[in-house]
Symmetry: C2
Subunit: 399 residues, 2 copies
């Protein structure tokens, strides 16, 4: 049993109820693992998949993932700033999102009915009376709910909390009771709600679920965690080539964390990758990481093909083997001038954004100010974005 926990621990941040977990794993009983999601449009990335792989490990031992669609709460939606309550999502949209979710989840989880079950929380909330719900509300105080980090931060920032948002944790907590959850594996932002789940289970006479929170790693830009809005994530549905390319673009110092959290490479190998210096060794470490991740999702054959393709496309210095050439007919220019010449179909504002985001390098030097002066005497290598390269060649103008 401890070996199972040891394996899970590789990507675990905290465990609430470790003794319960040990005991339940030892009992031989099939455990019910709560995997609760809301029904907004999903776009799962490697970060989400950390939790899914842990569930997959447990599935491989015979335990059951209960995929819980929070359709009731999604149906209510967020009416902030509206004069009338209005569902954000129609039932059809919820169904479509649920289907898309299942498809993405099945890239990691086993979905055979022995170890996978789909539920919707409307099953119990549609059957629950208002009186029963108020009874649940009586189990918890306003101060307990307001102690949640997110709420305190919102109050501190002067933003409002809708009462439907305030009571949301109560619903999420009751879900754990209703579906008889033994265990849930969540991001640390869900710890409060899932711990409240333990409270409700105990109050209502059930054994409390074990809560595991997972390690969060930064996005591929090395800054915030992976998120759609920052576009710094590797999606589960990204092509093998995109996954490989994005992984090759991460900062060197992220290689260890990514290898530990996103692959099953043995930990000594991970340590060796971390110890790799800069330059070629760093690139080889990244290649190893990228191949391991692609292997995990697409198999060793695809990973090998991507590795070969990458080696064929890029020189040992990390530049593509074939970079399109652009001529520029002046000796002096700004970096924005060069970008405009290289990418004539891009809007000015997009080019400025790329600069602002630090995506532009000239001969390996990052430039952010569009007005940075450039002197063209020899050919220069311009990179704008992770995989967009140009070779700028000065041509003496006829003027």
């Amino acid at each position: 049993m401890n070996s199972v926990i040891e394996r899970l621990r590789r990507t675990t941040d905290t465990i609430v109820g470790a003794d319960d977990l040990r005991e339940r794993l030892a009992s031989g009983r099939q455990l019910r693992i709560k995997y609760g999601v809301d029904c907004t449009a999903p776009d799962l990335h490697l970060g989400h998949a950390v939790n899914l792989w842990m569930m997959r490990q447990l599935q491989d031992l015979g335990h059951r993932v209960v995929f819980l669609l929070g359709d009731l709460t999604t149906r209510v939606g967020d009416p902030t700033g509206r004069s009338e309550t209005r569902p954000v999502l129609t039932p059809e949209q919820i169904d479509a999102n649920a289907a898309s979710f299942l498809e993405q989840v099945s890239l990691v989880l086993r979905t055979d009915p022995d170890v996978f079950e789909v539920r919707r929380n409307s099953e119990w909330y549609d059957a629950m009376s208002i009186a029963e719900l108020l009874g649940l509300f009586g189990q918890v105080t306003q101060a307990q709910l307001m102690s949640r980090d997110m709420f305190r931060e919102r109050v501190a920032a002067g933003r409002e909390i809708g009462v439907h948002e305030l009571v949301y944790p109560v619903l999420q907590a009751y879900d754990s009771f209703a579906m008889r959850s033994d265990l849930t594996i969540v991001g640390s932002d869900q710890l409060f709600n899932e711990q409240l789940g333990r409270v409700f289970q105990q109050r209502l006479g059930s054994p409390p679920q074990v809560v595991l929170t997972t390690t969060i790693t930064p996005g591929i830009d090395g800054r915030a965690k992976q998120s759609k809005s920052l576009n710094n994530y590797i999606g589960l549905t990204d092509s093998p080539r995109d996954k490989f390319g994005k992984l090759m673009s991460i900062p060197d110092e992220l290689v260890e964390a990514y290898a530990r959290v996103y692959t099953e490479l043995p930990l000594p190998t991970v340590a060796a990758l971390a110890a790799a210096g800069g330059g070629r060794a760093a690139r080889d470490a990244k290649l190893r990481l990228a191949a391991a991740v692609v292997t995990r999702y697409h198999g060793a054959g695809v990973a090998k093909a991507e590795l070969d393709s990458f080696r064929h496309t890029f020189t040992d210095h990390g530049e593509p083997a074939n970079i399109p050439a652009v001529t520029y007919a002046a000796e002096r220019a700004t970096i924005l001038d060069l970008l405009q010449a290289a990418r004539p179909t891009e809007s000015n504002s997009n080019l400025r954004r790329l600069l602002r985001q630090g995506a532009v390098t000239l001969n390996g030097e990052r430039l952010t100010d569009p007005a940075t002066p450039v002197s063209l005497t020899t050919p220069l290598t311009l990179k704008s974005g992770p995989r967009t390269w140009h070779r700028i060649t000065p041509v003496r103008s006829s003027g």
Copy 2:
């Protein structure tokens, strides 16, 4: 219309929506007056009746009182400090309380179906889904609810607020929409909830109810407002004699307020009562008040009989005509000794409580310390409680 409002104003503290009230009274339409109560055991007193008499005035003009039993919320009860939710009241108790409520209310209100209707809020809450309720919750913020006086006081006092209590105002507010309330007449402690009712009605597309709050007068001890726990109230079901006697016991300075709020004596008469000095004039003013109140509830004949009985029983100085005599065989005693001699069947702790509550006078002087020394040379008049008198006569002991 203004004359109606003028009459109501006699016992009105604030009106929210005065223009709406004028307009609706002028429309000729039968107005729906919300009279919401919870279903705990009722014991209506003169203070509650102020609101009822205002509703009665409107009934006499053809408007309809909708007596709303808050059975849903009563059923949930207050689970504070309990490990499991448990209704405080059974459905049978709720029904019994509702019947008792109706009986007491009918001492003031007309209950013929043209102008009286009984509803229960379980009618709409039993039919409402959790999703709909969450939609209502989305109309209001946590900060709005917490701005309620009662909640702020509880937080300041370090006491907890159950989430079912926090959301209670939302339910009470929605009631106003569901029952199409035009008007409600409440104590000022209900102003917050009923104003929230206006908000919900407007959001949901209905005209907002007018909210009248009523004047609150002190209890018969001249201190806090009338309440069961302080036993300082005049109950609607008190006998005519009890009503009369309790009114004769109020402090002189309360006569004006009581006459204004609890009777329909013309205001100039009320002013004249207020101007009465002490002694006999004050007693006559109180007799006038007591007779007016008893007339209101039991008719002029009963009031006249009580007036005569009182005059027969009590001297002009306010002492009963016949006071039982008690002999005491010592020259020195404490006030507690005298009380024990006069009321030998009372427990010591009860006698001490009477002292503490200021219910004991000796020759008209209030004594509160049980150890107060008394010297017995002439007969003394001992009063302990509103209508308990003894004449203590010293008898030289044989010792």
